[in-house]
Amino acid sequence: MIKLSIRYINLIVLTVFVLLVFSFFLPYLFPGDLLTNITGITPETQQQREALEIAFKLDKSIFHQFVFYIENLFSGNWGVSTATQQSLKTEVALFFPATIELVVYALLFSILVGIPLGFIGGLRHHKGFDFPIVTFSIVGYSFPVFWIALIFITVFCLQLNWLPTSGRLDLLYDLPSVTGFVLIDIALSDIEDKSAAYKDAFRHLILPTLAVSVVTTALFARFVRRSIMDVMEKSYIIAAKSRGFSPWQIFLKHGFKNALIPILPILALQVSTLITNVMIVETIFSWPGIGKWLIEAIYQHDYPAIRIGMLAVSIVVMILTISTEFLTRAIDPTREKVEHATF
């Protein structure tokens, strides 16, 4: 166990290091002025340029620069955005929680709907409810997420006028960002009518969550169904059947756990797909998350923002993936290695 922990911690450290090195070299690869790419500041005079170069150790060797970069990162000094001249740390702290929030909603929805659907399909495969479930899982998985978001807007916002099209909360609520998670921030705020604010936040999150969830739910249903089908054919299940247990008993006692454990890491791997979809949906629903922020940074050629944003997102995703892998192996030590997306 300890050995395993050390191995995984090693892996995290190593990956983070690789990412740091990669992000360090990004400003050299980006087009434009290296100094601006690193600092986010466009010098107006030659003196200012020289002063900045010295301040950022650009006159020193690459190795010095790298150490300086790492020091700055760890001391929370992440530089400024060229577009807004705001501190990138503040900006990431402002936008990243919104993305995580949406990811969590979508993940919860997909788990609560997708896994039961997969169970039903897997247990009753080729019968009754299996057909609509298989259809949903294939069709749902085939939807381009941006298109389904647009369809939702057309139907629920423009035709039915039920739900708002954009943001996380009505702009009229002047909600100070404390944690960055809107539901927590409402609780912490001094808004008078909190239930109205919650209702408003809820109305805003329905459509983006659903739009992202369609694909993920379909995927989950499909994985779980397949896994249940495999497990239910195993000899120990057949043995249990022959001993006269009811299908429910068998399923709860053997099928449930044995079907879920092997696919947990596969589901965890889908977090990366999920984040891509969330980032796209953010731009459509004007959800103030890191995806929208990064894509706008591209439009505005805001290279310091792209560098830091990429680093923040990839480190979080990476740590998430590696820790799920670690957890699965800790729970189920018989597994030699996680099989990636072989479905």
Partner: protein, 551 residues
């Protein structure tokens, strides 16, 4: 098994019910808070309109946060008192004396509490900042004041002098018949000298243009790039009104999303509704559409500093190759008049008989062969990424032009970038040609002729053709020396001919200006001379409720 299904269907039904409940709840917070949400099209690049000529910046600042010494009457364009309650012009037209209004309060915000009201020091500071290169604030945040620079106003003004706390005298070097009009434009805003000095003492002068303080009807609360700008009513505004308490600019770059937000009621008013959607807006009872012939010009400017566009013949050939009528039909959907010269027909300087080039691809091809343009010649057309009345869809127009130029053997590459980046690169002269336009800031034709094409307007970034012609500049100067409209008109007609011969740009259209709002919003009349104003905007229902309470 069954219970699973039952649970599932229960969950689904509950979700649907929630959705419906949430939906059936009417959006009434806007009424409770007496607020208006305006969907704007882009980010302001600064909160001081002195620094920028983009109408996005002007919309977000000029009439919300600030006031000017003088104001235009939006209906007839006459100059009216603003922060100056009266003014005197000397007989030789060189000395202007302004009597300032007393008791005008600056905004009290989270970052600044004024200790005194508006006075002569603020006027002097606001003008000296752009006029005087040695002023401590002149170089703060770029040191470029495009509107004033393009007019050469810093050189025209000899001195700004304080007579007493509420009286200021401005002397000019030469008479300038458009001087008062320039003081009433969006760019001539009055800043707080006290705030500026405080920031200077703190060592953060650049905050002046990012955390603005003015005297206007709304005070700045918060700006978040690509998201929103939040304003609050200025309680002690000198022109008391029954307007709204909160104003929010919801920054939405796509016109289709702005339209969606207008329909769902997330926005009360939108900037630049797409020409295609005008029909939809007119059909719906819950929306209103305002329309006004615009004082504007959409044009196609060639970068005259770059070969082969430095050759007038090439520029003319390019214009000959494009059918202007079809551009107007497809892009403005007929909601525009064809432009012959650069001023629209609503201006007194309009020349109905101005010469223009027709559509003649055969002639275009001949010229191009004569000047020896290489085969497979490729050029860039920069299409501005935002919608404007004068060009509601530059990208579409660029695609149309691309087709026409292919017919005469020219390959076109369309360039479109983020708006602030785009304008920066234009000022640097990176473009071959650009589809852009100009909206008048005052009714004087000088406001078209000077910023669009004079030499002074090149560094300030309003002369997108980078065209510099001494004869033209002389004509434009000459036109300002007299007040006689007939004489001025004759001079401008000469200028038109010069523009036609040199062809630095192809005038395309003068478009109608539109503004769409929810039906319960009043007071959003279009201001033909500059940025949008929310000072008189009200909610009808809010008014009715107030009346009920009074009864």
């Amino acid at each position: 098994m069954k219970s699973y299904l039952a649970n599932l269907s229960r969950i689904l039904i509950a979700l649907l019910l929630c959705g419906c409940l949430a939906a059936c709840e009417k959006r009434d917070i806007q009424h409770i808070k007496n607020a208006v949400v305006y969907c704007s099209e882009s980010n302001p690049s600064t909160f001081n309109p002195q620094l920028d000529t983009s109408s996005t910046t002007a919309d977000a600042t000029a009439h919300q946060i600030y006031d000017r010494l003088l104001e235009f009457n939006p209906e007839n364009g006459r100059i009216e008192p603003g922060l100056a309650s009266s003014w005197l012009v000397s007989d030789d037209g060189l000395t202007y004396t302004f009597q300032l209004r007393r008791g005008v309060e600056f905004h009290t915000t989270a970052y600044f509490t004024p200790s005194r009201s508006f006075n002569a020091d603020d006027v002097i500071f606001s003008i000296e900042r752009w006029k005087n290169e040695s002023h401590p604030y002149h170089h703060v945040n770029g040191g470029s004041y495009p509107y004033f620079d393009s007019l050469g106003l810093a050189d025209t003004i000899k001195e700004v002098r304080r007579i007493n706390g509420y009286r200021v005298e401005i002397t000019l070097d030469s008479p300038d018949s458009s001087f008062l009009a320039n003081l009433a434009t969006d760019f001539s805003v009055m800043l707080s000298a006290e705030y500026a000095m405080k920031l200077l003492a703190e060592g953060s002068p650049s905050r002046l243009d990012r955390y603005p303080v003015g005297t206007g009807p709304f005070k700045f609360v918060q700006f978040r790039q690509n998201q929103f700008i939040r304003y609050q009513r200025h309680e002690s505004y000198f022109r008391p009104s029954q307007g709204i308490d909160q104003l929010i600019f919801d920054i939405t770059q796509r016109s289709s999303l702005r339209m969606a937000k207008l329909i769902t009621g997330e926005c009360d008013a939108v900037a630049f509704p797409s020409q295609n959607d005008l029909v939809v807006i007119e059909e719906r009872e819950d929306l209103s559409l305002y329309e006004e012939p615009g004082l504007n010009i959409g044009y196609w400017a060639f970068n005259t500093s770059k070969p082969p566009f430095d050759n007038p013949e090439v520029r003319k050939a390019l214009a000959l190759a494009v059918d202007k009528t079809s551009l107007i039909d497809a892009v403005y959907l007929g909601q525009a008049t064809r432009a012959k010269s650069i001023v629209p027909s609503t201006s007194w300087a309009y020349e109905s008989g101005a010469r223009e080039l027709g559509y003649n691809p055969v002639r275009a091809r001949e010229i191009l062969t004569e000047v020896g343009l290489p085969a497979n010649f490729t050029m860039d057309i920069w299409a501005m990424p935002v919608q404007r009345a004068y060009n509601p869809n530059a990208l579409k127009m660029a695609q149309l032009i691309k087709r026409y130029l292919e017919d005469v053997g020219i390959e076109v590459n369309i360039v479109s970038q983020d708006w602030n980046l785009f304008r920066q690169n234009l000022t640097n002269g990176f473009h071959d040609s650009v589809l852009i336009g100009w909206k008048a800031d005052n009714g004087d034709p000088d406001n078209f002729y000077r910023p669009l094409l004079t030499c002074d307007a090149i560094p300030s970034g309003t002369n997108r053709a980078l065209w510099c012609n001494k004869d033209y500049d002389a004509l434009i100067e000459q036109a300002l020396l007299t007040d006689d409209i007939e004489k001025r008109r004759a001079i401008y007609h000469k200028a038109n001919l010069l523009i036609f011969e040199q062809f630095p740009l192809m005038p395309i259209a003068h478009a109608y200006q539109y503004q769409a709002t929810r039906a319960d919003i009043t007071g959003m009349e279009i201001n033909p001379f500059g940025g949008i104003s929310f000072e008189r905007v009200k909610r009808i229902q809010a008014i009715q409720e107030a009346e009920v309470r009074n009864d």
